[in-house]
Amino acid sequence: MSILVFLEQREGQLRSVSREALGEATRLAAELGGPVTGVCCAAADPGLAALGDAGADRVLLAKHESFAAYEGAAFAAAVAAAVAATHAKVVLLPASSLGKDLAARLAARLGVGLASDCTSLAVEGGRLVARRPVLAGKAIQKLAFPASPAIASLRPKAFAAVSGAGRAGTVEALAASVDTSLPRARVTGTSAAKGGKVDLTEAEIIVSGGRGMKGPEHFALIEQLADALGGSVGASRAVVDAGWRPHGEQVGQTGKTVSPRLYVAIGISGAIQHLAGMTSSRCIVAINKDPDAPIFKVADYGIVGDAFEVVPALTEAVRQLHR
């Protein structure tokens, strides 16, 4: 069963989510049989030949100068051409900001169902079954695909990249004709996040602050701990709604759903909407003054105490560790 993987690149660099999707494709191919093909839309080859090691039997490169930046309709047309060329029965994409948009366009174009933001895929009774959190993780939906190809986008960090797969990774050109006369969305600029912080959805470690921080100025403590741990800063909804932190940092049902290796919740009591967004974290640490705060019910480890005393001490202890 032929599997196609969309390989996302940005500014000439393959993104790690692409390797995660390839890794999962390789795992599925062991059960379903058939080749794993990658497809990349780019202005220049971002080093695709190396992907044999990451699980690709071959890679199709749709090269066009307009593919330097993302444009939904043009990318969807190119990937649809790759689906036809490979007779793919399964198409995997990263559930990144780009991948979610592209996956939806592709599904509409091919007239098939799409399972978004999956956290696991399995072969059950010979068919592909996707599991995906809904209601921000308060429930898990289990889906099958009545038609082919089955399209799934994969949550960043939920799937493992492989190395040493020893596949050919042959790079071939995929004819890409882009009709530049069509009305199109055009990326005219980008700016990196302050301090080059990793996005919450892709962060290994997140340190989040809540109303217990008492004011935006005290988030310096959260930032210092995040820096010491090499992680990103998150926030509760109350804090974002109060204007203390930008909306991009909000974790929870109307913010981001995250699954880092370590999630440290500081001064967050743990409203159900917040818990929904972070309970799939591997390890949760809570620091809160109130021993009855709901956050302690989901935390692996907790300290009952004043954040203004505990957090600086913890930051110092982590710094000592890395020294």
Partner: protein, 250 residues
């Protein structure tokens, strides 16, 4: 300028999930229904643009059973001019069916901007906006957190992983809204009264066949209650130790 806002009625974010007896859907008993929070940013954006240009019409479209009328009335109370209710008694099995039904209703309206929330907070799929764009062959920008209109070009900002992207799109276009774009207004009493007289056109929704099969809805495995390692600063060394030696995350 005619703007369309597609809205969805969803369970309140405080809902505690129980699985219905069919094992595949949410048990609706005791659920409070609200307008999808991200769709409120879409409604507000359309209203602000109408107020700024001083002309045009904001048409709300929603798909679902009779209960959806409540969500439609709240959008009308905020200030939308009229609504189309695509009636479907059966729950929509997947996003593509919904997108096709919406695209069919939008096609003949001559909309300049079709607004959506970036995703519904129940299925978290983030699919219907870009699907409608594809079906109507329109340019699309998702996750809009800043919006300006310059003549017939929309200039938007969207948050992507690790940064911001600035995108220009010619109208007509599809936009999906993120938190941070604006502060949705509350409906005034006058707005609520006025909404009662605004027209809601009802049409039967054709969702077609299922494009996905829901096998099950399950609760996630419960997390085992953790351990309080101690109180105050004195507990910090023990916390660092367990994070290194037990959890192996440091």
């Amino acid at each position: 300028m005619l703007q369309v806002v597609c809205i969805k009625q969803v369970p309140d974010t405080e809902t505690r999930v129980r699985v219905a007896t069919d094992g595949r859907t949410l048990d609706p008993a005791g659920v409070t229904w609200i307008v999808n929070p991200y769709d409120e940013f879409a409604i507000e954006a359309a209203l602000q643009l109408k107020e700024k240009t001083g002309a045009g019409e904001v048409v709300v479209i929603s798909l679902g059973g009779p209960g959806v009328a409540t969500a439609i009335r709240s959008a009308l109370a905020m200030g939308a001019d009229r609504a189309i209710h695509l009636k479907s008694d059966a729950p929509a099995p997947d996003s593509l069916g919904v997108a096709r039904a919406l695209a069919g209703a939008i096609r003949d309206l001559g909309a300049e901007i079709v607004w959506f929330g970036k995703q519904a907070v129940d299925d978290d799929a983030a699919q219907v906006g870009p699907m409608v764009a594809e079906l109507l062959a329109l340019p699309c920008a998702t996750l809009v957190s800043k919006f300006e209109l310059d003549g017939r070009t929309a200039r938007i900002e969207r948050e992507i992983e690790g940064g911001l992207e600035i995108v220009e799109l010619p109208l007509p276009a599809v936009l999906t809204t993120d938190k941070g774009l604006n502060q949705p207004r509350f409906a005034s009493l006058k707005g609520i009264m006025a909404a009662k007289k605004k027209p809601i056109e009802e049409r039967a929704a054709d969702l077609g066949g299922a494009n996905l099969e829901v096998l099950a809805l399950e609760l996630p495995p419960a997390r085992a209650a953790g351990r309080i390692v101690g109180e105050g600063v004195a507990a910090v060394p023990e916390l660092v130790r367990v994070l290194r030696e037990e959890a192996k995350v440091l």
